[in-house]
C-alpha cells in the first residue's frame, strides 16, 4: 500500500469513526452523578437517623430523671421504685478505658517503633501481619478467652501478689480479687486496642520522610536520639490522635467488657478499688436490654446510649482533629 492510499484510508476511517463517536450523547453522566450523590447523602441521612432515634427513644427517661440521670448513682428497674442514675457506669467506663489506655498506648507505640524503625523488613512484614490478625479477631473471641483463660492468669500472676503485698494498707489494691473486675476488663481492652493504635502509629512513623532520619543519623545520633529529635516531633499530634481513636474503641466496646467486668449494678458499680466489680455504659445496655420490662427502663438504657454516643463522639472528634492537624503539617516543618 503506498502512502497516498494509506492516507486516504486513514481519512476515510477517521470520518467513519467520528460519525460513530460524535453521535453519542451523554445523559448517563448526570444519572451517575445522581447515584453517587445519593449514596453520599445516605450516609448523612444515617447520622441524622441515629441522632433522631436515640433522641426520640430517650425523651422519656430525660423527662423522668432530668439531669439527675447524669449524676444519680441509683439504678433500680423495679416497678414503683424506679431510679436511674448513670454516674456509676460513666465512672466504670472511664476507669476501664483509662486502664486500657495506660497500658495500651505505650505498648502500641513501642510496637510501632519496633516495626518501623528497628526490625529488618523480613521480621517486620510477618510481624505486622500478626498484629493485624490480632485486630481481626472478633471481640467476642477476646471475651471468651478472657473469661476462661486470661482471667486466671491475671488473678494468679498480678492481682493476688499485689493484693497480698499492698491490699491491707492501700485501698486502691483492696478487695479480694477473683478476676472479674475493672482491672481485668481494662487489660483485655488494652490488648484489643493495641493492634488498632499500633497500626495507625506505624503508618504515621512510616510517613515521616526518610530524609528527616538520615539528617539525624548523619549527625551521629543513635537510633533513640533520631526518634526523639527527628521522628517523634513530626508525629506527636498524630500519635495523640491514634490514642484517642483507640480510646473511642475502648469506651464503646461492649461484649468483651460485659463478660469480664463482673456486672455490678447501681452504687456497687462505682469502682472503689482496682479489683472492684463494675459496669460500663455499654455493658449495662447489653445486659439489660432484652430484660427491660417497662418502657421507662428501656428509655433509660437508650439514655445510657445517648451518654455513650456523646462520649465517643467527643473522643473521636478530638482524635480526628489531632490526626488531621498532623497531616496538615507540611513536610519539613516541625512544630
Amino acid at each position: 500500500m503506498n502512502s497516498a492510499t494509506l492516507k486516504d484510508d486513514h481519512q476515510e476511517r477517521r470520518k467513519k469513526l467520528s460519525n460513530l463517536l460524535l453521535s453519542k450523547k451523554k445523559p448517563m453522566d448526570r444519572a451517575f452523578f445522581g447515584i453517587v450523590l445519593g449514596a453520599a447523602g445516605y450516609t448523612l441521612f444515617l447520622v441524622a437517623l441515629i441522632v433522631y432515634a436515640v433522641g426520640d427513644g430517650s425523651t422519656e427517661i430525660f423527662s423522668y430523671e432530668g439531669l439527675e440521670f447524669f449524676t444519680g448513682t441509683d439504678w433500680n428497674a423495679v416497678y414503683g421504685r424506679e431510679a436511674f442514675g448513670a454516674l456509676p457506669y460513666i465512672i466504670g467506663t472511664l476507669v476501664t478505658a483509662g486502664i486500657a489506655m495506660v497500658i495500651g498506648v505505650p505498648v502500641s507505640i513501642g510496637i510501632a517503633v519496633f516495626l518501623s524503625e528497628i526490625s529488618p523488613p523480613r521480621i517486620s512484614t510477618p510481624l505486622s501481619f500478626v498484629i493485624e490478625l490480632l485486630a481481626a479477631v472478633p471481640s467476642i473471641v477476646y471475651g471468651l478467652w478472657a473469661l476462661f483463660v486470661f482471667r486466671f492468669w491475671i488473678v494468679d500472676l498480678i492481682e493476688k501478689p499485689l493484693y497480698n503485698a499492698f491490699g491491707d494498707w492501700i485501698p486502691f489494691f483492696g478487695k479480694t480479687p477473683f478476676g472479674l473486675d475493672v482491672f481485668t476488663a481494662g487489660i483485655v481492652l488494652s490488648i484489643m486496642i493495641i493492634p488498632i493504635i499500633s497500626a495507625i502509629s506505624r503508618e504515621l512513623l512510616k510517613a515521616v520522610p526518610d530524609t528527616q532520619r538520615e539528617a539525624a543519623y548523619s549527625l551521629g545520633a543513635t537510633r533513640w536520639e533520631t526518634l526523639r529529635i527527628a521522628v517523634f516531633p513530626y508525629v506527636k499530634s498524630g500519635l495523640f490522635g491514634a490514642a484517642f481513636l483507640g480510646l473511642g474503641r475502648a469506651v464503646g466496646e461492649t461484649i468483651l467488657v460485659t463478660m469480664v467486668i463482673g456486672n455490678a449494678v447501681g452504687v456497687n458499680a462505682i469502682p472503689t478499688s482496682l479489683f472492684s466489680q463494675s459496669q460500663t455504659l455499654a455493658s449495662v445496655i447489653a445486659n439489660e436490654f432484652n430484660e427491660a420490662a417497662s418502657s421507662l427502663h428501656l428509655s433509660a438504657l437508650i439514655g445510657l446510649g445517648v451518654v455513650l454516643l456523646m462520649l465517643t463522639m467527643a473522643i473521636n472528634i478530638g482524635g480526628m482533629l489531632l490526626l488531621s492537624r498532623m497531616v496538615k503539617v507540611s513536610p519539613g516543618v516541625r512544630e
Binding site: 463517536l21 448517563m28 453522566d29 444519572a31 451517575f32 452523578f33 447515584i35 453517587v36 445519593g38 449514596a39 453520599a40 450516609t43 444515617l46 437517623l49 436515640v54 427513644g57 505498648v107 513501642g110 510496637i111 519496633f114 528497628i118 500478626v130 490478625l133 490480632l134 481481626a136 479477631v137 472478633p138 471481640s139 467476642i140 473471641v141 471475651g143 471468651l144 478467652w145 473469661l147 476462661f148 483463660v149 486470661f150 490488648i191 493495641i194 493492634p195 499500633s198 497500626a199 543513635t222 533513640w224 526518634l227 491514634a242 464503646g252 461484649i255 463478660m259 445496655i285 447489653a286 436490654f289 438504657l301 446510649g305 454516643l309 465517643t312 463522639m313 473522643i315 473521636n316 482524635g319
Partner: protein, 308 residues
C-alpha cells in the same frame, strides 16, 4: 594564622573527647529502648498466641458434622449444634454487605471523584468518620428503634441494617483512599480519549483501585461478622433455623455469648468450637477475596485500615 589553626585543633580535640564520653551512655540508652520495644512486641504476641491456641485446643474437640448443622439442643447435655447460628450469620452479614458495599463504594466515588472541597463533601467526610467511631451497641439501639419497633419484631432486617451502618463508613473511607491513590494521569488519559466521566470512573479508575476497594469490603465484612452487641437488640437470637426476614435469627457471636454465659462445661466447649468456626469463616473469607484481588495483578498501595 597558626594560632587560629591551633585553636581549631584544640576545639576539635575537646569535641571528640566529650562525644566519646557521652557515646557510651548514648549506646546504653539506645539498647534499653530497643529492648523495651521488643518487650512490647512480646506483650502483643503472647495473647494472640494464647487465643489461637485455646480456640483451637478447646474448639476442635467439640467439632462435628452434627455440631455444624444441627439446632442447639439442651445446654446440659452438650448435644446439638450451631447450624442456625452459622446460617444466621451468613444471611445477616450477607444482606448487610449487599446494602453497605454499593452504598459505600458509590459514596466513596462521590468523595474521591466528584466532590472537591465544598461544604457538602466536607460534611460527608466528617460524619463518615463520626459514624466509624460510633459504638456498635448504639447502632443496635438505632436498629431496634427504627426497625424492630416499627415492624414489631426482632428481625434479620434490623440486624442487617445495624450491621450495614457499621460497614458503610469503612467501605466509604477505604474506597475514597484507594481511588485517591490512583494517579490522576490515568483519569486524564481517559478524558483525553473523550470517554465520558462515568465510564472512566467505573471502567478505569475503580478497576484500577479494585484491590483496595475489595480490601475495604473484606475489612468491613470481617468486622461485622464478629459483632455481637448490636445483634442483641436486633436479631435477638433463636434456636431455630431461618424462617423469614421478619423473624428473629441466630448468629455466631450471639450464640458464643449465650454459650459462654452458661455454667456448664459442655456449653463452654461448644462456645470455643463456635469461636473457631467464626474465626475460620472470617479468615477463609478474607483470604479468598484477597487472593481474588491479587489475581487482578495491579496493586494500589492501601493504608491498612485496622482503625476503621
Amino acid at each position: 594564622m597558626e594560632k587560629i589553626q591551633q585553636e581549631k585543633a584544640n576545639l576539635k580535640y575537646q569535641l571528640q573527647n566529650t562525644m566519646e564520653r557521652k557515646s557510651s551512655r548514648k549506646r546504653k540508652i539506645n539498647k534499653l529502648v530497643t529492648i523495651l520495644c521488643i518487650i512490647c512486641v512480646g506483650l502483643a504476641i503472647v495473647p494472640l498466641g494464647s487465643i489461637l491456641f485455646e480456640v483451637i485446643k478447646n474448639g476442635v474437640s467439640a467439632l462435628s458434622v452434627e455440631f455444624l448443622t444441627q439446632r442447639p439442643g439442651s445446654m446440659i447435655s452438650g448435644r446439638g449444634g450451631i447450624g442456625p447460628a452459622i446460617q444466621g450469620t451468613l444471611i445477616t452479614v450477607g444482606i448487610a454487605s449487599i446494602i453497605a458495599a454499593p452504598v459505600g463504594i458509590f459514596a466513596g466515588i462521590y468523595l474521591a471523584e466528584f466532590a472537591g472541597n465544598g461544604p457538602l463533601p466536607h460534611a460527608v467526610r466528617f460524619f463518615n468518620d463520626v459514624l466509624t467511631g460510633l459504638p456498635s451497641i448504639v447502632l443496635g439501639i438505632v436498629g431496634y428503634i427504627v426497625i424492630v419497633l416499627v415492624i414489631g419484631s426482632f428481625s434479620v432486617w434490623a440486624g442487617s441494617f445495624a450491621l450495614s451502618i457499621i460497614m458503610i463508613p469503612i467501605v466509604v473511607r477505604v474506597t475514597e483512599e484507594s481511588l485517591k491513590v490512583v494517579p490522576n494521569s490515568i483519569r486524564e488519559a481517559g478524558y483525553s480519549l473523550g470517554i465520558p466521566k462515568w465510564k472512566i470512573t467505573l471502567h478505569i479508575t475503580l478497576k484500577t483501585a479494585f484491590s483496595g476497594v475489595l480490601t475495604g469490603i473484606v475489612i468491613g465484612i470481617s468486622r461485622i461478622a464478629g459483632e455481637t452487641a448490636p445483634l442483641i437488640m436486633t436479631i435477638l437470637g433463636t434456636s431455630l433455623f431461618f424462617t423469614g426476614f421478619d423473624d428473629p435469627v441466630d448468629a455466631l457471636p450471639l450464640r458464643i455469648w449465650r454459650l459462654a454465659s452458661q455454667p456448664y462445661d459442655s456449653a463452654h466447649a461448644q462456645g470455643w468450637a463456635a469461636a473457631l468456626i467464626l474465626i475460620l469463616i472470617v479468615l477463609l473469607f478474607s483470604v479468598t477475596l484477597r487472593l481474588l484481588a491479587a489475581r487482578k495483578g495491579f496493586k494500589v498501595r492501601v493504608i491498612r485500615y485496622s482503625n476503621v
